[in-house]
Symmetry: C4
Subunit: 199 residues, 4 copies
Amino acid sequence: MKSRFSTEAGRVEAFSDGVIAVIITVMVLELKPPSGTDLHLLREILPTFAAYVLSFVFVGIYWNNHHHMLRASDGVDGRAMWANLHLLFWLSLVPFTTRWMGENPSAAGPTALYGFVLLMCGFAYTLLQNALQAVNGPDSAFTKAVQGDLKGKMSLAFYVCAIGLAFVSTILSDVLYVVVAITWFIPDRRFESVISGRG
Amino acid sequence: MKSRFSTEAGRVEAFSDGVIAVIITVMVLELKPPSGTDLHLLREILPTFAAYVLSFVFVGIYWNNHHHMLRASDGVDGRAMWANLHLLFWLSLVPFTTRWMGENPSAAGPTALYGFVLLMCGFAYTLLQNALQAVNGPDSAFTKAVQGDLKGKMSLAFYVCAIGLAFVSTILSDVLYVVVAITWFIPDRRFESVISGRG
Amino acid sequence: MKSRFSTEAGRVEAFSDGVIAVIITVMVLELKPPSGTDLHLLREILPTFAAYVLSFVFVGIYWNNHHHMLRASDGVDGRAMWANLHLLFWLSLVPFTTRWMGENPSAAGPTALYGFVLLMCGFAYTLLQNALQAVNGPDSAFTKAVQGDLKGKMSLAFYVCAIGLAFVSTILSDVLYVVVAITWFIPDRRFESVISGRG
Amino acid sequence: MKSRFSTEAGRVEAFSDGVIAVIITVMVLELKPPSGTDLHLLREILPTFAAYVLSFVFVGIYWNNHHHMLRASDGVDGRAMWANLHLLFWLSLVPFTTRWMGENPSAAGPTALYGFVLLMCGFAYTLLQNALQAVNGPDSAFTKAVQGDLKGKMSLAFYVCAIGLAFVSTILSDVLYVVVAITWFIPDRRFESVISGRG
């Protein structure tokens, strides 16, 4: 039974990796060359480029943590599969919000929507985590590993703040987005012991 | 012999996953930012967004069921490989019909074509199922699992109705598309016992 | 030694599958919705659609045969890796020539170039086959399986004819392209015995 | 423990392959058909095509060497994962600089930026190599294999020269880019003995 589960998880991982690889790569297609050939003109696309870097880091973080979480789980079931597709759906909107914010860096709407999609990604990630907890059972090493999850809850709070602050100053929102990215830069170590304990 | 078949199925799965991952992700590239930065302007792209969500769910359903079906099969042969490419062909047209319908939500033509491509996807899925039945043999657990297939037949009937109703009211067609998506939301459990019986 | 080779071949297969999956899927992005919402307007995009179907079949054939050939080989070396990238390069130009021919179905230039890229794909496939023969050795089952290769040689001859005929009538070239596609529709069975002999 | 590391490396490889497959394939989408149907008009897109060929070769070289390097390593850790994402980030900018240089072949800015992104890719590759050295330990076969790395250092020096020369003559920079590509055409054999020694 366990081996079937692992294979299932492998398929979900592979499909998710494919979707995330496309998301992270097509974003750069939005980066249009500047209107001339002078290097100073690159300043024109600096906001779009900065938005691209930020989103690359966020999607990279999701890939990294998603990968650790699935690996730590004993398997996936139908609910977890849909929770995973739900997460991929919100991640797939990141190129859209990145483009809109990049083209309008000082406008409240695009900056707030950027945060809203990140908030939904974070929320979808939590739903996937809950679905996997149900698969692994309440006393599993998986469930113990995800308990607490202070960083995840704080990120959601920061996104909410950033959405509100966008209507005051988009710079403040941008700072909050960067802060969240930095706190996640360190990979999620909660699952390391679960994975090691198995190997 | 069996192990070769499984490897073959693995390759077909991996390639199909790659194609489906690209299909599901490039659709969002059609989602163009609104003409201004006011959040109210997002209403402009609401039909396109709704069409994207619907297609994301449909393609997600195909990924999910495709995956269960291939896994339940003892293998694939040349006919099944072409049947699979045929299914991927019709799925690859979904981004095109999604865009056309999203840009013209109240026009009969695009809404009918959207249903036509879904109908062909459903038909292609049935052909793949038949090809895999031939590989597994008439008395196999696979063949027993796919017998009946009421939901599949009803979906095809619903698509035909939706195509016709598009010329009366596109809203009715849209409702039918959503109804079909909801009925498929629950993963295809027919193969679960086949897979378990093997593990 | 052999197991390392197989793993190497697995990587080359997986990367090639990824590239081919993207090639086959991004082509449909060129399929722009017609200028209105009337279904009759789909006739506008019929040549582009027909070119897309043809190219989908050609790329699908390459995926299918590439897959059988790599599986039949004992491994890959540096030369085969570059021969494979060379094949992927020419395949990657198919979306470009498909678009140009689809937009100008009755113009000689685009139809000839379409054939030229197919010719180069066929040539690159032969180079890859030769590189894999060198890996497997002159007396290997692989080398015996690929000897003769009448269909491959005839395809190259047909492409050359189609390129020339494009300047007489593009319809004749189109017919030749379809004929070649049909002859390849049947999967390359030469490697089946090699693979079976191993399993 | 070792087996877990290998699985991890497998995931990093698979994700990197996906990203690189998309990068190498979407570049061709920038290749717009010429303004007419005369084959002579292909001369219009010759610079863009030449830039595409060059970038295809560079990305192909990275895929090839990346693959050998990860395979030679005993595993990956968190630092190596981020170093890998950092490399993928710079590689993802190649389609952007390719397009800009292809559209402005005789302008200094785009040619210099093209070299700058290649320089950063080379630098990111070195960082990944260092991270993997730390995983494998100072006395490992991996570390011995990467010592020296004359070709890598010379490439970086060539890129710096090409960036400077772009402001004198872009032809000179182009020549240097081609020279670097040729020197790397021969796959990195340093890891071959490491991999063989293990098999």
